[in-house]
């Protein structure tokens, strides 16, 4: 689902890197590669990432292989390309059959072209089109639009390069704002849930909204004064007037926030006042150490 977004790498200036991804951009287990390993031994997970995120499909992969050898599309060596292509597809097949389907069609086509090229030629075949012509036409066409996409990506655009002038208009507050019925908001939510198939998640179903609301108000008290967050006394989060249920909800909200690492919790001395605060790095570190301790104890 998030695949659409994972393909893009962002540069420091916030622009999208729309140049063709070179092998140098690919890190495998933290190491930069100068070229793909000859034996193609790549950890399956890493390869999956490369194939899903780097190539937009069989034509894209084929183009990459051709360009890597500095070849003109018009001069591709079918045999060599087929061999390399097959190695990729083979790896993909062992990882993700569904993704490989489109790639397999291409593999079959390459194999067919290759076999036809190897057959001894008879006069009667002379009339037939070169089997490579169709492939070359498709590659050229694809490359044309791959380039066009990159060009479009580099056009100055709203939100990124162009900011609209929008100054305050006097009395503008009188402008009627769209009316929204609760019903339409709920329908929108039901639609998005259906799409995301979140209805199946038991976790969400059991989570009462009151805790979500309390999480928001706890965060609010933390950030209302400064952006970096203040230290807030744990006890002030609770309102005894809310009764036992209210206290429990607050406690669960705080625990959920801690779990999601949205707040930190500190106590300067045993039995001292407990504070919640911004999850500073110190606290995250502490937790990491704890986890390591847990792990070593478990062994």
């Amino acid at each position: 689902m998030s695949r659409d977004f994972s393909l893009v790498e962002e540069q420091q200036d916030g622009r999208i890197d729309s140049s063709p991804i070179s092998i140098k951009d690919i890190l495998i287990e933290g190491e930069q590669l100068d070229e793909l390993p000859k034996d193609l031994y790549i950890p399956p997970d890493a390869l999956k990432v490369i194939l899903e995120n780097t190539f937009e499909g069989p034509l894209d992969l084929l183009l990459y292989l051709i360009r890597r050898q500095n070849l003109d599309i018009l001069n591709i060596e079918i045999a060599e390309i087929t061999k390399q292509y097959m190695s990729y597809v083979e790896m993909m097949r062992s990882i993700n059959l569904e993704l490989a389907a489109e790639y397999l069609v291409m593999a079959a086509m390459l194999a067919e072209i290759k076999s036809r090229m190897l057959l001894p030629r008879h006069e009667e075949y002379e009339d037939e089109d070169d089997p490579r012509a169709e492939l070359i036409r498709r590659l050229q066409e694809y490359e044309q639009f791959k380039q066009a996409a990159e060009d479009i990506g580099e056009l100055p655009r709203l939100e990124r390069d162009i900011n609209l002038v929008e100054i305050a208009a006097p009395e503008r507050s009188e402008r009627p704002e769209p009316e929204v019925e609760l019903q339409s908001l709920l329908i929108a939510f039901s639609d998005v849930l259906k799409r995301a198939e979140l209805f199946n998640s038991h976790h969400i179903q059991r989570e009462p909204l009151s805790i979500r609301e309390r999480m928001t108000s706890v965060l609010d008290s933390l950030y209302s004064i400064s952006e970096d967050g203040e230290f807030v006394e744990f006890s002030t989060l609770f309102d005894v007037k809310e009764g036992r249920l209210g206290v429990v909800i607050t406690l669960m909200a705080v625990l959920e926030l801690i779990k999601e690492m949205l707040i930190g919790i500190v106590q300067s001395e045993p039995y001292g006042e407990i504070y919640i605060c911004h999850p500073s790095e110190k606290i995250i570190e502490e937790r990491a150490i704890e986890r390591i301790d847990d792990m070593s104890e478990g062994q």
Partner: protein, 206 residues
């Protein structure tokens, strides 16, 4: 260099849609090349002078400097919004619904669930309407802002607390009900569109 400073201050006031104080104008520049307060103030005054007799004016308000349409022409300008359709997009409603039920939530998380990018306009509209508010930043790379609902949002729907929002089970039922209605509607729209589209095609070939 001076012209550049003036242009940046002018552009910032025009795009911000809110008053900017000198501190936040300074913050537009990199640390080692920030102009002095005095320089910025001088530029602001210059811009204010230049706006005389124009369609806009530069004014100082409590929280900073702001560019606004000249009061005298507001009668005309307000007609701009007369024709605007008073309806929110489905994208906006879905975004609002996710913020309601999944708060605190970041824009990235909304995009992940919805599967499409959330436009800045949507976030801006929801902020302007004061239905959502920022709840600090998530402590992950990029420190994305987290959003939650506001009191105004509850007020608008006549709710006292979020708990009065329907539960997921109830929403599921509404969704099922709506689906039947929707299907009927869409079929009608489709057939309407089909005839209209033929017309479009004809126009294009002319």
């Amino acid at each position: 260099m001076e012209t550049n400073l003036k242009n940046i201050v002018e552009g910032a006031l025009m795009a911000a849609g809110r008053p900017l104080n000198i501190k936040s104008l300074k913050a537009l520049f990199e640390e080692n090349s920030q102009p002095e307060r005095g320089e910025i103030l001088a530029v602001l005054q210059e811009l204010q002078q230049e706006s005389q007799g124009r369609g806009y004016e530069v004014v100082e308000v409590a929280s900073g400097w702001r560019m606004q349409v000249r009061q005298g022409i507001s009668t005309w300008i307000n007609r701009l919004w007369d024709e605007k359709p008073a309806r929110y997009s489905k994208a906006l409603l879905e975004t609002m619904a996710l913020i309601t039920y999944r708060q605190p939530i970041t824009r990235g998380e909304i995009e992940e669930i919805r599967g499409v990018a959330v436009s800045s306009n949507i976030m801006k509209t929801l902020h302007e309407r004061e239905w959502i508010r920022m709840l600090g930043h998530r402590d992950v790379p990029g420190r994305p802002a987290m959003y939650g609902t506001s009191k105004k949002f509850l007020d608008y729907f006549g709710l006292k607390t979020l708990e009065e929002m329907p539960t997921l089970m109830e929403i599921k039922e509404i969704g099922a009900l709506n689906e039947d209605l929707d299907l009927e509607k869409e079929e009608k729209v489709d057939s309407e569109k089909a005839s209209g589209n033929i017309k479009i095609k004809e126009d294009e070939t002319k």
